[in-house]
């Protein structure tokens, strides 16, 4: 995993254009947020997926759309780890840093291991840009980069020169330099240009000159690698040995949107998705708005509260109602989520967590909303909570959220986060026929109809939608009388209803998969994770297992209720370590629920765990 030194230090004898095979490489593109970094990274990822590597990505960008050019806060980055082996994270450290300007170099250099490769756009290292980035001397000349392998490449001038025949203002030509750089990196890692050329052709169909310029730049960058006497070798990463099937690359937000649509198809009812734009959840709204031919109604509400309320209204009307937001929006929705708890209607609430209280750091990741999801509402307010473990798992958990919501007539909170939302991985497509149908039971029989007469097994109340003759009834936020649903202030009834609502959620435990222990079923250290930390935890645990250490892990995708074998597993280990991107919220729950000495391992830097951080922390317990 290249914790200390780069994988590149093992490069063989320097023969021109020799191809060196590598198992795993991590590349980070970094530049101004206006440089097209996210696009460059995404296109590189698409190609890498198509050549059959396993991969993980980590886009890391500022909240400002265009922070002042050349400044440190304006730096945008995109990291991808690709491999011929299993990849579970975007990589701890980059082996290759592609820096488009001094600010990008300054921000990202600390992450580069000794011997790492730096490709810099030397044209951007002007006195002015150096000053903006806070450099007092030029790092390319003052010897401060001696322990890295630095390639000073005139990306801007080379791009302009490649495009001299094309009729475009030089400012527009200059903007093609990201494609030039991408071409160079393609050469460096022996990847084909065709997928990106196809993309360029499609994307700029209406502007052939721009298409031609970008394609030319891409090819020129590739040719530069081949012809210039700078690189002596280039690299190849073979196809990964992954399970047979049809694959596509997918981000967490895309997977979530597709999961919601799939749930609607499996249930045979249209999806109504209400949302107020918020980072990092907005992409779900954008994606769903594209698929109206699946009957998807998207509603860009006037605020977070309205989005939640409209989703409740949709559920009352018999649609699959969902909303999506991030932490600040969850705060605003709380009262309405409680309304859904009280009226017992199925609504899926997707919380794409981000860093910090209040506005915090909108584009950075965190797992700080777990306790909010469980307890962040007035009084006793049980809701089901699920959390996908990987970007592709967002698809499955979105379907699962709707299965639970409709079967138990309850709101379900799905906790994703910025890291899952924007990170991408290869996704093996499920066969649609094999996905289990979601059975909805709408009440139509007026005989013995009572709005709060519960199913004896699930404790779900009937779903009786307006328009059904003979089932006219009233629901609302006031306490309900058991069975009749009439308003009731009776003390015994209230206690009964509080307990019934809790019991209903608790019973879901009978209906979710048991936990699988990764590793031995008992032993010294058990690492317990939830949500997006899956990749880093599993890789770290595997590292110790290969060394013969007694370390196992479990990963929670169901946070309320917990899988029913959780307590039993916890008690089979001497030490329990709980890595979380918060100050120990799951650990608090495990301690409270199971009386175990769960040790929190916290990180709240707006960044995901590195595998090495978890490896080191486990090491301290062994």
């Amino acid at each position: 995993m290249g914790e200390k030194t780069s994988a590149f230090t093992t490069v063989g004898p320097e023969v021109r254009h020799q191809i060196v095979e590598l198992e795993t490489v991590t590349v980070r593109f970094a530049g101004d947020s206006g440089d097209g970094i996210q696009l460059t990274g995404t296109l590189f990822t698409n190609t890498t997926a198509l050549v059959g590597n396993d991969l993980g990505t980590f886009p890391d960008y500022p909240a400002e759309i265009r922070a002042p050019a050349g400044t440190l806060p304006g730096v945008s980055a995109y990291q991808i780890c690709f491999s011929s082996q299993d990849v579970r994270t975007p990589g701890d450290q980059p082996d290759v840093l592609v820096a488009f300007n001094p600010a990008a170099l300054k921000v990202h250099l600390p992450d580069l291991p000794e011997g790492g490769m730096i490709l810099v756009n030397v044209d951007a290292f002007t006195e002015y840009n150096l000053k903006k980035a806070g450099y007092t001397s030029n790092p390319l000349e003052d010897g401060s980069l001696a322990k890295y392998r630095v390639y000073k490449i005139p990306m801007t001038t080379a791009t302009l020169s490649a495009l001299r025949q094309i009729d475009l203002p030089s400012k527009d030509k200059e903007r093609c330099k990201n494609f030039w750089a991408l071409g160079l990196v393609y050469w460096l890692f022996d990847r084909p240009l065709e997928p990106t050329l196809r993309w360029i052709e499609q994307r700029f169909r209406k502007n052939p000159t721009i298409a031609q310029a970008n394609a030319t730049a891409l090819r020129a960058g590739y040719a530069y690698g081949d012809a210039a006497e700078i690189f002596t070798v280039h690299y190849r990463v073979r196809r990964a040995q992954i399970a047979p099937g049809v694959y596509r690359k997918i981000t967490g937000n895309e997977a979530l949107a597709l999961g919601l649509i799939t749930a609607s198809q499996l249930a045979g009812r249209p999806l109504f998705y209400a949302s107020y734009p918020i980072t990092p959840a907005s992409d779900i709204l954008h994606e769903l708005a594209l698929h109206k031919n699946f009957g998807v109604r998207t509603f860009q509400a006037e605020d977070e509260i309205a989005a939640m309320c409209a989703a409740i209204g949709a559920a009352f009307a018999g649609y699959l109602g969902a909303t999506g937001t991030s932490g600040p929006g969850m705060c605003l929705k709380s009262e309405a989520i409680n309304l859904a708890v009280m009226v017992e209607l199925p609504v899926v609430i997707c919380d794409i967590q981000r860093a910090g209280p209040s506005t915090g750091m909108p584009t950075k990741t965190e797992q700080g909303d777990l306790l909010q999801a469980l307890f962040g509402r007035n009084s006793e307010s049980p809701v089901a909570v699920v959390a996908p473990a990987t970007p592709a798992d967002c698809f499955s958990m979105a379907i699962e959220a709707f299965r639970i919501a409709t079967k138990y007539m309850t709101p379900v909170i799905l906790l994703s986060d910025g890291y899952l939302a924007n990170g991408a991985e290869p996704w093996r497509l499920p066969s649609v026929e094999e996905l289990p149908k979601i059975e909805l039971r709408f009440r139509t029989d007026p005989n013995d109809f009572y709005p709060y007469l519960r199913d004896p097994e699930t404790l779900a109340r009937p779903w009786a939608i307006p328009g059904t003759p003979g089932l006219e009834h009233r629901i609302g936020g006031l306490e309900k009388q058991h069975i009749t649903g009439n308003v009731s202030y009776d003390p015994q009834n209230h206690e009964l209803m509080v307990k019934l609502r809790a019991e209903k959620i608790a019973r879901i435990a009978e209906d979710i998969p048991l936990l699988d222990v990764f590793g031995e079923p008992e032993g010294k250290v058990l690492v317990v994770g939830w949500g997006s930390t899956y990749g880093a935890i599993t890789s770290a645990v595997e590292h110790w297992q290969k060394k013969g250490a007694s370390v196992s892990s479990i990963h929670l995708r169901y946070l309320n209720p917990f899988p029913r074998n959780l307590g039993e597993i916890l008690h089979r280990f001497e030490k329990i370590l709980v890595p979380e991107l918060n100050l120990g919220q799951l650990a608090l729950l495990l301690r409270g629920r199971y009386l175990v000495d769960a040790i929190p391992f916290s990180k709240v830097q707006g960044r995901p765990f590195k595998i090495s951080e978890i490896i080191d922390r486990i090491g301290e317990l062994l």
């Binding site: 799939t262 031919n293 309205a306 109602g321 307006p466 006219e472 009233r474 609302g476």
Partner: protein
């Protein structure tokens, strides 16, 4: 159309009793809400809509208990949010007749945002705002429509807030139907409610409603039977604005202001403003809405009734257009969209 709610498809003429729920009405004796409930239960059977197609949605406050007393589908929501809940219901089932019952606190204070957006979107829902100019359920604080200087429990020295005029707000949001009535003017109230029910698009109805406990007589100075003819004017489409016990006073448009004139002395009916509720531009309706006692008679009736495409209709039309253009969504194809590759 099939009437009735017995589920057997037989035609049943509905009556007021069909809309009375089995719940005991718990407003204070003498509350204006009773009159509004009674008129609503009288009007709905006349619409030819089966009972199961009505949904009443409310927020929080005295007025928001309304759905419990209607034997229809009902949803007692949370404070101020009824328009948002109703929007979700209506978009998903445009066949329903969806009503929002709200108050001056619920609709204009905590829920002001949702009211505004439901109106500007022209969601085909009917919003009845019971305006008693006071917070009743919380026992007597001033509301956003309380007059400046009003002394209440939370304003012992008088409020220092300017009140909002609900009709002006609705017109500013370009609601396609805007009307006002009074709880005790039962025939007029029934007329306005029926007009609202039959309007396609958002209908906003303000009802002056007396809270006999915390703000008794708020509207009496102009709405009491003994004085209303002289102090109120009934807006009727296509008719000049005439009022007064003797029908001898009128409203004239003078430049950009309205003025009260007395007929005779060279002023005839033809000098008066003729009410045009269908006028696309809401400017004159806005002038009318600003008329207030004692400078002017207080107007009631339909200020505005224009037709525009409704939000729910447009949303669903896009769904149909997308299906017509691309065909019914194919899940297998959707999952396989973008670049895919096969691992053997």
């Amino acid at each position: 159309m099939t009437l009735g709610g017995n589920g057997q498809g037989t035609v049943v003429k509905l009556t007021k009793r069909d809309f009375v729920s089995d719940q005991e009405v718990r407003w204070c004796p003498g509350c204006g809400d009773y009159a509004i409930l009674a008129q609503m239960q009288k009007v709905l059977p006349e619409l030819g809509i089966p009972r199961e197609k009505f949904v009443f949605v409310s927020g929080i406050g005295c007025s928001s208990r309304f759905p419990y007393y209607m034997n229809t589908y009902g949803f007692h929501g949370i404070h101020g949010r009824a328009p948002a809940i109703a929007t979700g219901i209506k978009v998903c089932n445009p066949d329903l007749s969806v009503w929002v019952v709200t108050g001056d606190g619920d609709g204009l204070s905590i829920g002001g945002n949702h009211l505004l957006h439901a109106m500007r979107r022209n969601v085909d829902i009917k919003i009845v705002l019971f305006n008693n100019r006071i917070y009743g359920l919380t026992k007597g604080q001033y509301s956003p429509t309380s007059e400046f200087g009003k002394k209440t429990k939370s304003s012992p020295m008088g409020t220092v807030e300017m009140p909002v005029n609900p009709i002006c707000l609705a017109l500013a949001a370009e609601a396609t139907f805007v009307a006002r009535s009074v709880d005790r003017h039962t025939d007029h109230l029934a007329y306005v409610l029926e007009r609202a029910a039959r309007h396609k698009g958002v209908a906003f109805v303000e009802v002056f409603q007396n809270c006999n406990i915390f703000n008794d007589g708020a509207f009496e100075p102009f709405a009491d039977r003994s004085v209303k003819d002289d102090r109120m004017v009934v807006l009727e489409h296509g008719k000049p604005l005439i009022f007064g016990k003797n029908r001898d006073k009128g409203i004239r448009l003078n430049g950009t202001t309205l003025e009260v004139v007395t007929l005779g002395d060279g002023i005839t009916e033809s000098d008066l403003l003729v009410h045009d509720e269908k006028r696309p531009d809401p400017a004159i309706a806005f002038l009318l809405a600003r008329m207030d006692y004692p400078e002017y008679p207080v107007p009631v009736g339909v200020f505005r009734a224009v037709e525009k495409p409704t939000y729910d209709e447009l949303v669903n039309a896009q769904i149909e257009a997308a299906i017509a253009e691309r065909g019914q969504g194919d899940l297998e194809k959707l999952l396989r969209s973008g670049d895919i590759w096969v691992i053997e």
